[in-house]
C-alpha cells in the first residue's frame, strides 16, 4: 500500500526558544509580541513552524528563529524538552520542541532594538507577564534547566559580554544560581578547568589597587562540565 501523508491528521509542529542573556548583571529573556492570531498581542518566546523548505533539522529551525530575532548565532543552543497535546493551541493538536539558548548581550543590542515588538525582559518581569499559549511553563522549564546545569557546567560563560573579569563571571554564576559563591573556591575551579583565555587587563575599580585580568571563553567551549559541583564544599 502507498503511504499518503494527507491520510493522517499530523499535529502542528513548532520550535520555541528561550534565549537568555545578562544585562547589567541581571538575567534577561527575549520575548516577541505576537503579530498574528491566535494570541495576537501577547508576548511569547520566539519560535514558529518548521519550514520544510528551509530547515533540514529541528535544531536548524531553532537556530534560524533565534537568528531572525537577534541578528546573531548563539554560542550555546540546547534542546530542553517537547510538549504536545490537544489543548495548548486552539488550532488543534500541537507539538512544540523547546530549546534554550545563551548569548552575550552587546552583539544583539542594536539588532533587537531595531526589530519591532521584540525586547529583552528581566526574567522576573517576563515571568509576571500573561504569556501566550503555555509559554510561561516553557520559560519556567528552560530557566530550571539553566539553573540545574549551572551547578555542574560553565553555561553562564555564554551570557557575558567578553572580555570579562573573574568577578563578573562569578556574579554571572551567582545570578543564574540565585546563590552566593565562595570567591577562592570559585576561582580555583574555573582556572583549573582550563576553559578561559586570558586576553589582557582592566584598570582596577576606582583606579586603585591591582588591575583585573580579563578573560574570554576558549573557542568551542559548549557546556564543559566541572568534575565537581560549583558551590558544594571545597
Amino acid at each position: 500500500e502507498e503511504y499518503n501523508p494527507k491520510d493522517y491528521l499530523s499535529p502542528l509542529v513548532t520550535v520555541d526558544v528561550a534565549i537568555f542573556t545578562l544585562i547589567e548583571g541581571r538575567l534577561h529573556v527575549l520575548l516577541v509580541k505576537r503579530a498574528n492570531h491566535p494570541e495576537r498581542g501577547r508576548w511569547a518566546l520566539p519560535g514558529g513552524f518548521i519550514d520544510a523548505g528551509q530547515d533540514t533539522t529541528l535544531s536548524e529551525a531553532a537556530a534560524r528563529k533565534l537568528e531572525e530575532k537577534t541578528g546573531v548565532t548563539a554560542p550555546y543552543l540546547e534542546q530542553v524538552y517537547t510538549v504536545g497535546d490537544n489543548t495548548r493551541d486552539p488550532r488543534g493538536w500541537s507539538v512544540t520542541v523547546l530549546y534554550m539558548a545563551l548569548m552575550a548581550h552587546a552583539p544583539t543590542a542594536a539588532f533587537v532594538d531595531s526589530v519591532a515588538d521584540t525586547r529583552w525582559w528581566p526574567l522576573a518581569d517576563a515571568m509576571g507577564q500573561d504569556l501566550a499559549f503555555d509559554h510561561r511553563q516553557l520559560l519556567d522549564a528552560a530557566r530550571q534547566r539553566l539553573s540545574n546545569k549551572t551547578a555542574y557546567t560553565v553555561l553562564p560563560v555564554h551570557t557575558l559580554d567578553a572580555p570579562f573579569t573573574l568577578t563578573q563571571l562569578q556574579q554571572a554564576f551567582e545570578e543564574v544560581l540565585g546563590a552566593a559563591l565562595e570567591k577562592k573556591s570559585f576561582r580555583r575551579r574555573i582556572l583549573s578547568a582550563d576553559i578561559l583565555d586570558e586576553v589582557g587587563e582592566a584598570p582596577p575599580p576606582g583606579g586603585r589597587g591591582r588591575p583585573a585580568a580579563l578573560f574570554r571563553a576558549k573557542a568551542g567551549l559548549g557546556e564543559h562540565a566541572f568534575v565537581r559541583v560549583v558551590g558544594e564544599g571545597k
Copy 2:
C-alpha cells in the same frame, strides 16, 4: 485571516519508546518487527503516529504504544529527547519524540510471547541489529540516559520483579551501570533513602545461613534521587 492547517506541510509526528527490563539479571529491550513499509521486516523500537482521536498528550501516546506491546502500564516513563529532520524517514520531514520506560519482566512475559514479531532482546544483541530508521541512535540515547540517571536515582528498581532481595537490587544497579558497587555502602544508601517496603523473607541461597529480607518499591516511587552518587566514595 483564517488559519488553515492544510496550508502548512506538517512534519510527520511519532513517539517511540525504548522499554527496558531485566531478565535473569541482564538488561533487555523490547523490539518489534515492522509489518509495514517503510523498513518492513526490520526490528524497531515500538512506536508510531499520534492518534489525534485517542491521545490527548504525547506521554499518553507513548503509554498507549507501550501498553499495546506489553499488556501492562509501566511504573516509569520518561521523555528522553526529540529528533526531527528531512532524512530520517523516506516519507518526508519527520519528528519523533523518544521515551524511555522501565518495567519488571514477569508481568509482561505471557503477553509479549503472544504478540507476533515482538520480543525482548538482550541489549547487546539489539544494538547489533540493523534497526529500522535511526532507531539504533535512539536506543543508544535511551540507554545512555538510563545509565546516567542510575548514578543518582533509583531507576533500576523498576526493572526488577518484586519482591527482590538487596543482592538482586545491587546486581540490577551493577548491570545498568556496568560497574561493581561496594556492598555495605550500597545497602546503607538504599536503606537510608527509605524507598523500599520490607515484605518478607526468602530462604537463604543453598538453604544455609540467614534468610534474606525481601523488598518491594514503595508506591509512587518514580525517579527518587539520592543525595549522593551511588558508587562514589562512601
